[in-house]
């Protein structure tokens, strides 16, 4: 009798979804999909014509989640029509999990505990790896591919190699998950195709679920197929808080102790400084000291990557009792309506608005170049978003720097790119 070979967490999930005893990296297998998530941009408006042409219905509406987050609230008639179409689609297909203008899909999905440990999930958005934060295997797909999933409930995948990315020790005050990912974009580049990044180590375990989402979310910027973090007690707590009665057996979704990783990278979290990515790539990242003094016109705290409750808390820690510099506009678009509600209840909103922040509606907004807050040529912006590609956030003549909410807030106060540690008590002193 042969002993079953060890597998990583991702391989276990893929094997389960493919109905196989085990899978090996490089194999192409067909998986049954546990959850399919769409938004208003790449979702109904693009899949509906395909479904009509095929004369097909959705294989299982109870496994579909739809959120409107790109064209919200509609600034023009085209956007309003897209939202109206999305609502009709959700009604006609009896989609129970429809979140209309409640926030950014990746954040809403986790607030309501739709994505759970061990799931094989797909999302019609490139930041769908965010779902990995709870120990699911979740990948982004385009609208045509989504049509295939909606019709068949299945999708082909090439089993990715797993990399173990371990962050030891403890992040310093003023340093966040965003800094980890900007650092990794510079360190590993953005073309790590067909890899799944599994994050682990003491510094990762210590992160809140909001912060874990950032690691998996920006695995997209590493070019990885997805990112994943094995579930622990904090994961279960968040799922229960989101209304899902998860059992402790969900903790069994772990890599085998002797699983094979193509690479095992170890980093010292305590040595990481706040990072800033210069235009026009997240891979242009370096310690904030390389960019301090660069004049800014706009500071933007938004997106799934950078405007969850944890992100607003970071900004508030820096902005408390201070003011945004003259001539600088600080725009904040909380990632969800629940984020806004919680930030209002705990006093965070008051700190932000007292400092001079301009609050925007929840949605993908300026990050995707669709919504309020886009840039003119010559504008310099520092943003808590995930991407600073040329032209993404408005004019191709604008310059966008990426950083954590701490660093964006510090820069808003200075009017130039600044180090948030100048405004925070050190952990030792705290």
């Amino acid at each position: 009798m042969t002993v079953p070979a060890a597998m990583t967490l991702s391989e276990k999930i893929i094997a389960r979804a493919a109905g196989r005893e085990r899978v090996r990296p490089g194999e192409i297998v067909t998986c049954k999909v546990d959850l399919a998530m769409m938004h208003d941009s790449g979702g109904p408006r693009r899949v509906q014509p395909h479904l009509e042409r095929l004369g097909a219905r959705i294989w299982d509406p109870s496994k579909v989640v739809i959120a409107t987050d790109h064209f919200v609230p509609p600034p023009d008639i085209d956007s309003a029509e897209i939202l109206a179409l999305t609502r009709r689609f959700a009604r006609d297909h009896a989609i129970g999990a429809f979140y209309d203008m409640q926030g950014i899909c990746h954040v809403v999905l986790q607030e309501h505990a739709h994505v759970r440990p061990g799931m094989f999930a797909v999302g019609g958005d490139s930041h769908s790896p965010s779902g990995g934060a709870v120990g699911a295997f979740m990948v982004g797909v385009g609208a045509t591919e989504m049509t295939g999933v909606l019709v068949t409930g299945e999708i082909w995948v090439r089993v990715p190699e797993s990399w173990l990315i371990e962050w030891r020790g403890e992040l310093a005050a003023g340093v966040a998950a965003k800094d980890i990912m900007l650092f990794l974009c510079a360190e590993l580049g953005m073309s790590n195709d067909y890899k799944v990044m599994q994050y682990a180590g003491g510094a990762v375990s210590a992160l809140s679920m909001n912060e874990r989402l950032v690691l998996c979310n920006m695995s997209a910027e590493l070019g990885a197929k997805t990112g994943i973090i094995a579930p622990d007690a904090r994961t279960l707590e968040a799922l229960r808080h989101g209304g899902h009665a998860v059992g402790n057996d969900a903790l069994s979704w772990q890599s085998d102790p002797d699983a094979h990783y193509e690479r095992h990278l170890e980093f010292d979290a305590g040595a990481l400084a706040p990072q800033v990515a210069a235009p026009h790539s997240p891979a242009n990242s370096a310690a904030v000291s390389e960019h301090t003094g660069v004049r800014i016109d706009q500071a933007y705290i938004g997106a799934c990557t950078g405007a969850k409750l944890s992100d607003l808390h970071m900004a508030a820690q820096v902005l408390r009792g201070r003011k945004v510099a003259r001539g600088v506009r600080l725009l904040i678009a909380p990632a969800s309506t629940l984020t806004t509600r919680e930030a209002a209840a705990d006093g965070t909103l008051e700190v932000l608005t007292s400092a001079g922040a301009i609050m925007l509606p929840s949605g993908c907004g300026a990050c995707a170049g669709y919504g309020a807050g886009i840039l003119a040529s010559g504008d310099v912006c520092i943003a808590s978003t995930a991407r600073n590609f040329k032209g993404r956030m408005g004019s191709p003549g604008a310059s966008v720097y990426l950083a954590s909410p701490y660093t964006v807030a510090a820069s808003a106060i200075r009017g130039t790119i600044g180090d948030p540690r100048d405004f925070l008590p050190t952990r030792a002193a705290a």
Binding site: H50, T144, E145, T147, V151, G189, Y370, F389, R392, G394
Partner: protein, 171 residues
């Protein structure tokens, strides 16, 4: 049934590393229909591309071609403009899948950087071969799996699904 076409010839349009989806399908034009959006394809790096491309031409990219968002218009714009195949050192996985799903094949060729702009290419998907007829060289990349060739031959995933559901590709 005759064997599907898996060999393409055309002029090479050579681009560098990390041609992202914002370059291929700029956000400012994303709400427009594809015939409008396609006019802006790659305008930020090569303004004449959308105007001068000829049906059948080949786009040659570097590392991470199509990195960025999941927007299908990135691949759709290239196909609309008549690009027959994308050859790249590596491609972002969502772009790779979107392209095949829309009937635009992608061939991964680690030596793509050795192809000169304007070269006449012959690309054999099933064998993973790229012949540079101008430079007089032949390169071996990754052969495209049969099931993806079938999707390309059917004209994309939707006609392929139609065939699976109804016994024949949609007209």
């Amino acid at each position: 049934m005759s064997a599907p076409t898996t060999v393409f010839t055309g002029r090479a349009w050579v681009f560098g590393d990390r041609i992202d989806t914002d370059l291929l399908a700029p956000g400012h034009a994303i709400r427009k229909p594809i015939e409008e959006l396609a006019k802006h394809c790659l305008e930020a790096v090569r303004p004449e591309f959308a105007r001068d491309i000829v049906r059948g031409d080949v786009v040659v990219g570097g590392e991470g071609f199509g990195i960025g968002s999941s927007r299908e218009q990135a691949a759709q714009a290239l196909r609309y403009l008549g690009v027959s195949v994308v050859v790249a050192k590596s491609a972002a996985r969502i772009f790779y899948r979107n392209a095949f799903n829309l009937g635009l094949p992608v061939l991964i060729l680690p030596e793509a950087g050795q192809i000169a702009d304007g070269a006449r290419l012959e690309v054999d998907l099933a064998r993973g071969l790229v012949r540079d007829m101008t430079g007089g060289r032949e390169f071996r990349g990754e052969a495209v799996p049969d099931f993806l060739l079938e999707i390309v031959a059917d004209g994309g995933l939707i006609p392929n699904l139609h065939k699976r559901l109804h016994g024949k590709p949609a007209a």
